[in-house]
């Protein structure tokens, strides 16, 4: 008797007519596949959460210099004995966040419903930008600067967890971000 572990009984098995169960299911599966496929371009046009395609190659030193310039200009206060400047750049401006072993630097203070151009890059290994509790996750590479526009929609205090393994101090790599009304 023919089965899946013996050669097909019918020599010209490709002429065996399609069963109705299979035919119907293939049509349903194909339709669903196409719907899922077109959802992604659809969201690029009508959705509000799309990661930008803007990215540059950049050296860690250059990125650090840009972040430092922002910190020098817009720091409003400091936290943790002066280690972390809290920076409040104007709405619509370029804001920089450095990922390095093992901190997110500096602390950004943004305004709700305003849009900022967020720049992310790593000084050393790969890190994972994980904004909590919103749960927005972006991979951060050394040598690459990703630029994405962000529009905070809820005010409050956020944590930035590192969710790409980066060595023994990985679990201490937590940053902070404020969104004000």
């Amino acid at each position: 008797m023919g089965s899946a572990i013996t050669p097909p009984e019918e020599r010209v098995w490709w002429k065996h007519p399609l069963d109705r169960v299979e035919g119907t299911w293939i049509v349903l599966a194909l339709l669903w596949s196409l719907i899922m496929f077109f959802m992604m371009p659809f969201w690029h046009v009508y959705g509000k959460q799309n990661l930008s395609n803007e990215a540059y190659r950049i050296s860690p030193q250059k990125f650090q210099a840009k972040a430092q310039a922002m910190v020098d200009q817009y720091t409003v206060r400091t936290e943790v004995d002066g280690q972390y400047p809290v920076v409040r750049p104007p709405a619509g401006s370029d804001v920089y966040l450095i990922a390095r072993l093992w901190q997110w630097w500096p602390i950004l203070e943004l305004e709700k419903d305003q849009t900022y151009r967020l720049h992310l890059s790593s000084m050393d290994w790969q890190h994972g930008f994980s904004l909590q509790p919103s749960n927005i996750n972006i991979q951060v590479h050394p040598g690459y600067e990703i630029v994405t526009s962000v529009t905070p929609n809820r005010s409050g205090e956020y944590g930035i967890v590192c969710n790409e393994f980066c060595g023994i101090g990985h679990h201490t790599m937590v940053g902070k971000l404020y969104v004000t009304e």
Binding site: W13, S130, Q139, G143, Y144, V150
Partner: protein, 563 residues
């Protein structure tokens, strides 16, 4: 042609076993189980650390254990077992001698040396780089070298499989086309060659970088090519365990594929599109365009997802048809109710199929959506997904097949048959709890590959909600149940091979009783559908899939605007 000294016919199953192929299958299967044991012990340690109330290991040993758990299970256990499946699907199913057995032994030796090298280097504690070893983080050279040597050995195994197909064709050991299971194994083999080539392209330069011969490896380029190895190796698993589903449907029920054409087309779609899934790991990376992400993450319009949906229907569909022919023809589900749920070969395979589809398949597609990945990337949702696919889908299917191979290939009776009867349920249910609650914790933002969700020692605090801790506690409980199931599998397998009663030539197993109704039954199914019960199950699957898919879009729509 082989004479009788070089092969035997299994008295209980009628299967053909070439002597060389038989020993190679045994060696590969045993090595696989040993690495399952090693990887499983590390998995237990990892689970006991991520269980917040237990938090067993110190940070450095946790990351070492996680690295060893990943390589041990995702590479060594599955690929050793898959080489055994390749030899089974070629030599045994085509009733032919194995091509170049000496090369096959060389391949096995290289795989073993490579796997042990990497394992021992990890145990030195200076290569805590995770399974993925993303640059610029660096492991000791032996870590990469072991993987390269292992891959060369696996590649030799693939070519022995292909050579055996050529020998079978030349010696005309079968009529017409190769069996469907062999075709599925060929799919797995082709994907394996692609996988190993990707691995060589990235790991050889990385090895040279680790000994100081190359100065720089671009981290993005590394990731792109590395996932050609890392994800594609899991696609070998998919092709292999789907083949195992078909094989078990044939072995347990004598099920005939509903249509050879449809099942083979679905395997062909795997060959063409499945490997594009390496893009799933690059959805939130800088420097890659959305067009590239959308095309690749969807396997070119989800054609490989469609292929899996087809297999998910045709495997139980063929079982339903076979059962209805035997007379289990009442209503929609008599065929399923009266299936041999106490036979671990069947129950393991069926749980593998259902959980792979509902938990692993749906979550995989949803988190592979370019935009939805933003709220899932690198959270513990991701290991939730792949424990449903690899630990339940692949591993449980291979466990089920083992229960068939012990009496036929190893010619031993199962020790502890009652435990064996329960084992697939214990392992399958434990792993499902683990997978489901990892996904739940992931949606609450809990990170994967993370030693301490309380962030002790951090300058700036962040606290996860209490529910996240509860979810991770349930993950720990699920893991303990799964460990019991995994330990039972290893105990039964090793115990049966060493101490099981030999299956004698004379002791023929009684043939399964032919059901009375079979002779007279001429039509079955309903409304022109040969397998209406399976179709109903498939519709339940589709509705769950659609609902969960759009729930995630809705959740995405509630987070910060990004553009």
């Amino acid at each position: 042609m082989a004479n009788s000294a070089q092969h035997r016919i299994c008295p209980s199953s009628g299967l053909y076993f070439d002597r060389n192929a038989e020993w190679l299958m045994k060696a590969n299967a045993v090595a696989a189980v040993v690495f399952l044991l090693i990887g499983g012990i590390y998995g237990l340690l990892v689970a006991l650390t991520r269980w917040p109330a237990v938090h067993l290991l110190p940070a450095d040993f946790f990351y070492e254990a996680l690295t060893a758990h990943g390589t041990g299970i995702l590479i060594f256990w599955v690929i050793f077992f898959e080489i055994a499946i390749l030899y089974f699907a070629s030599s045994t199913l085509l009733k032919v001698r194995l091509a170049t057995p000496r090369w096959a032994w060389l391949g096995f030796a290289l795989m073993l040396i490579g796997a042990l090298t990497t394992q021992l280097v990890i145990m030195r504690g200076r290569s805590n780089v995770m399974f993925t070893s993303y640059v610029p983080m660096q492991a000791e050279p032996g870590f990469y070298l072991g993987l390269i040597v292992f891959a060369v050995g696996a590649l030799i195994g693939c070519f022995v499989f292909l050579g055996t197909l050529v020998v079978a064709r030349a010696e005309r050991t079968y009529e017409g086309s190769v069996p469907l299971v062999t075709f599925g194994a060929l799919t797995a083999c082709i994907i394996a060659v692609f996988t190993i080539a990707s691995g060589a392209i990235i790991l050889i330069p990385t090895f040279l970088w680790s000994i100081g011969y190359i100065s720089y490896i671009d981290p993005l380029m590394y990731k792109l090519i590395w996932w050609g190895l890392g994800h594609s190796s899991q696609q070998i698993n998919v092709a292999a365990h789907v083949s195992v589903w078909y094989a078990i449907a044939a072995i347990v029920f004598g099920a005939k594929p509903m249509s050879e054409k449809v099942s083979r087309m679905a395997f062909l779609l795997y060959i063409l599109f499945l490997q594009l899934a390496s893009a799933h790991h690059l959805m939130v990376e800088p420097g890659i365009s959305s067009e590239w992400k959308i095309f690749n993450t969807s396997y070119a319009m989800y054609l490989a997802v469609m292929a899996s949906m087809i297999h998910g229907l045709t495997v139980p569909g063929s079982i339903e048809v076979a059962q209805r022919k035997k007379g289990f023809n009442k209503g929609l589900f008599e065929w399923l109710r009266k299936a041999p749920w106490g036979n671990p070969v069947f129950s393991g395979m069926f749980l593998s199929l259902i959980i792979f589809g509902f938990l692993g398949g749906i979550s995989g597609v949803v988190m592979g959506v370019e935009q939805i990945n933003l709220i899932i990337h690198n959270t513990i949702y991701v290991p939730g997904h792949f424990h449903a696919t690899v630990a339940v889908g692949t591993t449980l299917a291979f466990m089920a097949l083992t229960y068939f191979l012990i009496p036929t290939l190893f010619r031993r009776q199962l020790i502890l048959p009652t435990l064996a009867k329960w084992q697939p349920y214990i392992f399958g249910i434990g792993m499902s709890i683990l997978a489901l609650f990892m996904m739940a914790a992931g949606t609450l933002g809990v990170s994967r590959r993370h030693w301490d969700m309380a962030f002790s020692g951090s300058a700036l605090p962040y606290e996860y909600p209490g529910t996240a801790y509860l979810m991770m506690g349930i993950v720990g409980i699920g893991a303990m149940i799964a460990v019991v199931g995994g330990a039972a599998y290893i105990l039964i397998t090793v115990g049966s091979i060493l101490f099981g009663k030999r299956v004698g030539e004379a002791e023929k197993r009684p043939a399964p009783a032919a059901p009375a109704a079979a002779a007279t039954l001429t039509s079955y199914g309903a409304a022109g559908f040969a397998a209406p019960g399976t179709f109903a199950l498939a519709l339940v699957f589709l509705v769950s899939f659609v609902a969960y898919y759009f729930v995630n879009w809705k959740y995405l729509a509630s987070v910060w605007g990004l553009s």
